[in-house]
């Protein structure tokens, strides 16, 4: 809210000076209307219309302000203009900076309020003017040289002179309707024309990104010459097999020799004549075959132009069409190695690079294109673009599937690919219903076996602890134990004896009579003293039986 108020206040302050002269002046002069700026290349024009034609002797003056400046400066070329347009082309204006213009009408001391033009960046507002064109005729081609728009000292396009691209429209003079459109370099040839025909053409320059279209040049007309006897070679193409690159072409004449030349493609972008930059390929100066094998290491990876010339006796043909090729001798892509395996209803495909793949430039990520088909039908059922191994799910059981793949270099402009790999076939396994379950079952079983084993073992140990097995000591120990003195010694001051005594008292199920109790007490004492002389283990059996009836116990003890 505060910010809004501030903004409003600012607007008021800023607006005040504009309001005052109009209000305070009260003059009759009115500001010019429909003020427009037109920029074509380096020509800046300001146009406007008078608001009141009846007032005579009115002149117009304009001022400008660059971004970041506080004061207004007289616009050169637009001071005291009597007409309704002025040329303000000047070196003072920075074509990349935002500029604001304002104009007013003047008569003697009287002035109209300023009329401001929406601020603009000259470069962004500028239109690309028509390029200058020079033509030269051949029998079946026209050589065209284009000078970039603007003058040589152009400030507007100084930074873009080699960014321009050119579009050309060409037609024969006789049939104006049949137009051909081509994109050309500043210096190139228009091919596939008829001899002795008048052609007319127009060229415009444009910037590709950001898109900016220029104006068409005036129409130029030229007639092609008489057809020469020795035609130039045709259909140039580059053939690259393994690591050997070669240029091939067609020729109509026999017994001719050829010479091949090349040019760096980047030179085509730079305006000017580069005809002296063409170089001959060593070994391809006088060829009798229609093929030139590039010597290794002459063409590093790059974009090149090639042209071929035929010679027969003393006469030489014109140069063939200049063809652009992307040569990448270092990057020969070899086919991948594939393996396929059928695993429960799906096919696992493994892709690997060939071992001798040293020639591939590691700079390029490879993509693989795999084609899958059934052996029976031969019709392709699937094409897969992949970077890694993959799985083809839901394949039919007991069917032979075949696969082949090739490596592609992932690139937007230049597509290079290897040949297809060897075909690999694999029969899918018959459908076994619960394979998953079987595996899961085995897993569970494997997991459970040790668990069960250990838990059983633990349980057994517990049982043993609670119910220890009865064991008799070895006879030699028994001999020892039978001796009284030793018995006393062993059980001297043991607390267990009283506990045992207590247990036996409680265990006794029949409440004895008074007489018996007395007797029992005595007996118990006896028993106590006797048993306490025994080792626990030894007396186990006796204890057990003794607890059943006191009578028996007594007998046993005594």
């Amino acid at each position: 809210m505060l910010a809004l108020l501030d903004a409003a206040a600012l607007m008021l302050v800023a607006g005040a000076p504009w309001v005052s002269p109009a209000a305070a002046g009260g003059n009759t002069l009115q500001s010019p209307e429909n003020v427009e700026v037109h920029i074509i290349d380096d020509t800046f024009t300001l146009k406007w219309s008078r608001s009141d034609d009846s007032v005579g002797n009115v002149t117009f003056s304009a001022e400008y302000q660059m971004s970041g400046m506080d004061n207004w400066i007289n616009l050169p070329g637009c001071q005291s203009i009597t007409g309704t347009r002025c040329d303000f082309s000047s070196d003072e204006l920075d074509v990349f900076e935002q500029v604001t213009l304002r104009i007013r009408a003047e008569k003697g001391n009287e002035t109209s309020p300023w009329q401001e033009v929406e601020s603009f960046v000259p470069f962004q507002k500028a239109q690309i003017g028509p390029p200058k064109v020079h033509l030269e005729a051949e029998d079946k081609a026209i050589v065209i040289s284009i000078l970039p728009p603007g003058t040589k000292e152009s400030l507007m396009w100084a930074m873009d002179s080699s960014s321009f691209k050119y579009r050309l429209v060409i037609w024969t003079n006789s049939s104006g309707a049949d137009k051909r459109i081509e994109t050309v370099y500043p210096r190139s040839k228009i091919y596939k024309l008829s001899p002795e025909t008048t052609y007319c053409l127009q060229v415009k320059a444009y910037l590709r990104v950001p898109r900016k279209n220029g104006m068409y040049s005036p129409v130029y007309c030229i007639s092609t010459t008489v057809e020469s006897k020795l035609p130039p070679p045709e259909n140039l193409k580059v053939d690259s097999k393994k690591s050997i690159c070669s240029l091939k072409w067609d020729t109509a004449d026999e017994n001719t020799t050829f010479q091949v030349q090349w040019l760096h493609a980047y030179l085509k972008k730079i305006p000017g004549n580069h005809s002296d930059k063409w170089k001959t390929i060593p070994g391809c100066e006088t060829l009798e075959t229609t093929q030139c094998v590039f010597p290794p290491n002459v063409f590093p990876k790059g974009i090149y132009f090639f042209r071929v010339q035929a010679s027969k006796g003393n006469s030489t043909s014109r140069w063939s069409e200049e063809k652009e090729f992307y040569i990448d001798t270092q990057t020969v892509v070899l086919p991948p190695v594939i393996r396929m395996k059928s695993i429960n209803g799906s096919l696992n495909v493994y892709i690997g690079a060939p071992k001798e793949n040293k020639s591939v430039n590691p700079n390029y990520p490879l993509t693989y294109e795999a084609h899958l088909w059934k052996n029976t039908s031969n019709a392709q059922i699937k094409t897969i673009q992949t970077k890694t191994d993959f799985i083809i799910p839901n394949v039919e059981p007991r069917t032979v599937y075949c696969i082949k793949a090739r490596a592609l270099i992932e690139d937007e402009k230049w597509n290079t690919s290897s040949v297809f790999s060897e075909i690999v076939c694999e029969e899918t396994k018959p459908e076994t219903i619960p394979v998953k379950w079987l595996i899961a079952g085995i897993c569970i079983a494997l997991f459970c076996t040790p668990c069960v084993f250990y838990s059983l073992k633990g349980l057994l140990r517990c049982i043993n602890y609670v119910v220890p097995p009865s064991r008799k000591p070895p006879p030699c120990i028994q001999e020892y134990l039978s001796e009284h003195s030793l018995k006393n010694l062993l059980l001297l001051a043991s607390e267990e004896q009283t506990e045992r005594c207590f247990i036996i008292e409680r265990v006794n199920p029949l409440p004895p009579t008074e007489e018996e109790t007395n007797q029992m007490d005595e007996d118990h004492k006896k028993y106590n003293s006797q048993t306490s002389r025994d080792s626990g283990n030894y007396s186990n059996e006796d204890e057990n039986s003794g607890s059943s009836t006191s009578g028996e116990l007594q007998q046993a003890i005594v």
Binding site: F96, V121, F123, Q124, A158, M159, D160, S161, S162, S163, R208, V209, P210, R211, H264, A265, Y266, K269, I270, P271, P300, K301, G302, I303, N363, Y364, P365, E410, D411, E412, K413
Partner: protein, 188 residues
Amino acid sequence: MISKHFLAFVFLLLASFTIVSRELKPVHFQQRRVNRESLKLLGTLPTSLIRQCLPHRENFLLPQKAINPPRCSRGHAAAVLHEMLQQIFNLFGADQSLSSWDESLVEKFLVELHQQLERVETVMGLEADQKSHTLGTENIRLQVKMYFRRIHNYLENQKYSSCAWLLVRVEINRCLFFVFRLTEKLSN
């Protein structure tokens, strides 16, 4: 001799460190080639000349914010990248006063640069149809153009002296470092 190789090494090291093992695109790879050629070009400079040229140094005011923004859209990065490549190509390609340079090295640099430019233009040409990418990038392009105009003006004022060219070469190398990072952003 050692220092210049060391410089090249450090640059290459820096460049290679910035590569993260992600899905890398050809633009990024090609830029590495461009930078490598640029470094080779710089590597031919004699050390004595470098010392001699130090007083002629100039701040070309590289538009850091435009070139190396903390966060930037794909369109932004592509626009800056394209404009930079284009301008470097203009600078090195158009001028015929490079005779004192090792021509084959300049040629190699331009070959790689040209390929990269073609590549970027192809990518951008496809995207330009969508229009959204070019919005708001005009000002960035202007900033880059102005920066290169300062370089052109400097060369002109220095009458294309070998010192001036040397310093421009160093500056361009610096530029390419940022360009490399832009391609990295683009390829992600």
